[in-house]
Symmetry: C2
Subunit: 340 residues, 2 copies
DNA sequence: TTTGATAATCTAAACGTTTAGATTAGTTTT
DNA sequence: AAAACTAATCTAAACGTTTAGATTATCAAA
């Protein structure tokens, strides 16, 4: 594999000249020399070594990405993360950056953080870091160029991009309220996800504003991946005065509620309204199709990546966090409360 | 950000000694010195610069990945690619490799190939390169360490990993035949995907073996993303002697056939059997649930990545291509042919 | 011509590591 | 006490670039 030295020899000039020619440098170069160098480079199939370049330029034209969930490879099969990733890839491509996945599972800041300092990426996108881990603090203290997604990080002076969880939860709740529901439950996501308490509190507040109290046991903590909510929904729906509507922490949870209701012979939406959050691709494929709050996931990924790029370019400029409003998508899983 | 020189100064030894300590080198180091260095490194929060290391070691512990489809960011929202990617990520994590996405869209070998020679990745995974592009040949001629997925590349001496398309198509066809179907159509994927002619030919051969000829106009070329097949299926189903069964090139196409049939009032599977290929996550969510051939996509991604790692470790050893048999998953979209 | 200015090219240091080989320190052996 | 090892550490080159500053070539003006 040929190096700049080979090109220099082949064209009979110094490596400095080769470099200026190939980088369209500011210094003047004789047209004939320029041509000779370019031909030699082409003939030798030369391409600069990214590490050597990165070493001196201190730029790799590469964005890093790290998913702060337990098992990072699984992230791809998660429709939420997958959509975010696509947005990030789009923006990376548009800005001529490659994208590097950091795959090492996080142990603790002490052991895991340092690896992110190896400068292989010019900046890092941190996605959905659990609040009970030291990922965020560990990475922030490294002095990396950082942008987070779905991970509040203003306390560290790091801008983050996320959907407006509070607004979304309020819209969801008010949608159910406007349909005449009063016994409304909430099955939330993982306790250690930052969005969970925000959505929960906004739900409670919206209920309070409507003069309602949330019934006993009608707020339950589940998992965003839907792994625990089927059983919890089942128990809730078996109770004598079960809720007439449920605000699910996300679509995956909402879908398991649909399953549980069907298995219990409870008709959705006639006997039970269900509203989700996210609008993942499969939300419109369920039966009944899911009413939900759409997060513009592609846009979130894209804007976060662009924000990161601009931080890389001008590290001193302060960048504001971005909060994107969700949009209510009414499908078939919610309707007017039955009079009882 | 501290360098090895800082650590050397801080601990009062040469950088060579720091290096041997931190890399657990073969040379002996006094226990006390070792400790002093380790403490200094910890105190300074030192982590080696990946580019400097990569430059001399000629290893970045990074795998590259490139999707040879038109618009590479879209790849993530594609359930096929997404599952492959997950497998790759798993294997990369298991072998302590990071994964770098090459995001630059492919123009032509002349312009695009060289960028892959910059050594930022130790090897490259090439996925689903179209047969009518010069991606495969362009990358092969670069002398990279390469493994392909769903892209036959033995002609270049490059091992590839793929499902056994021929076997899958045969099983699909024989499944329909065994249900008594004789008028069977095939809506294939993109003309420039390597798997398409393989599946088509295997289909035709299986029909021939059963003593049947494929009816006129009953083989149509569509797109793997399902973007063109709805209309084609519709036209086909409107014909007087329409097929009683369709072997779809993949699940996305099969799902549009389901849509077209429903819209025409044709009942699946009573009036029309449909079988897909891939078993993407949504295949079981359609109504009726899709009978299909399952590709173990995670396994394919994983094995390809492991194969790449072993090629990186021993470049001279010859590695065989891997062909993984698909598995027939019978759900609700196929049944016995109605007697007519 | 010589001088000065400018254009073209080159030399050498720097980026932050690893590692072969040299040097020095420490311990046996004679 | 010198010789011969071995252990511990260091020096310096190498990896493949970029770039500031030095040098040389070219040419117009004096």
């Amino acid at each position: 594999m040929s190096t700049i030295t080979d090109v220099a020899k082949e064209s009979g000039v110094s490596i400095a000249t080769v470099s200026t020619v190939l980088n369209n440098g500011t210094k003047p170069v004789r047209a004939e020399t320029r041509l000779r160098v370019q031909n030699a480079a082409r003939r030798l199939n030369y391409h600069p070594n990214a590490m050597a370049q990165g070493l001196v330029r201190r730029r790799m034209n590469t964005l890093g990405i790290f998913f702060g969930v337990v098992d990072s490879p699984v992230v791809v099969s998660n429709p939420y993360a997958s959509a975010i990733l696509q947005g990030v890839l789009t923006a990376a491509a548009d800005t001529s950056n490659n994208l590097t996945f950091f795959t090492a599972p996080w142990r603790c800041a002490e052991q895991s953080a340092a690896a992110f300092r190896d400068r292989r990426a010019d900046g890092l996108l941190l996605i959905a870091a659990p609040t009970d881990s030291d990922i965020l603090s560990g990475l922030c203290s490294l002095g990396l160029t950082l942008v987070t997604i779905a991970t509040p990080s203003e306390q560290f002076g790091i801008p983050s991009v996320d959907v407006d969880n509070e607004l979304g939860a309020r819209i969801a709740t008010e949608h159910l309220l406007s349909l005449g529901h009063t016994r409304i439950a909430h099955l939330s996501g993982d306790a250690n996800m930052a969005s969970v308490p925000v959505r929960r509190d906004a739900f409670v507040r919206a209920m309070k504003n409507a003069g309602l109290v949330v019934p006993e046991n009608c707020i339950q903590i589940c998992r965003y991946d839907g792994s625990s909510s089927y059983e919890i929904a089942r128990q809730m729906l078996l109770k004598p005065n079960r809720p007439t509507a449920i605000f699910a922490g996300n679509d995956a949870i909402a879908m398991t509620i649909l399953d549980a209701a069907r298995d219990l012979g409870i008709s959705v939406p006639r006997d039970l309204s269900v509203i989700g959050f996210d609008d993942i691709v499969t939300a419109s494929m369920t039966n009944p199709a899911l009413t939900t709050l759409r997060q513009p996931l592609l846009e979130i990924g894209e804007r976060a990546a662009l924000l990161l790029v601009s931080r890389i370019q001008s590290p001193e400029a302060h960048q504001d966090s971005i909060m994107i409003p969700p949009e209510l998508v009414i499908r078939e899983s919610t309707c007017t409360a039955a009079h009882s």
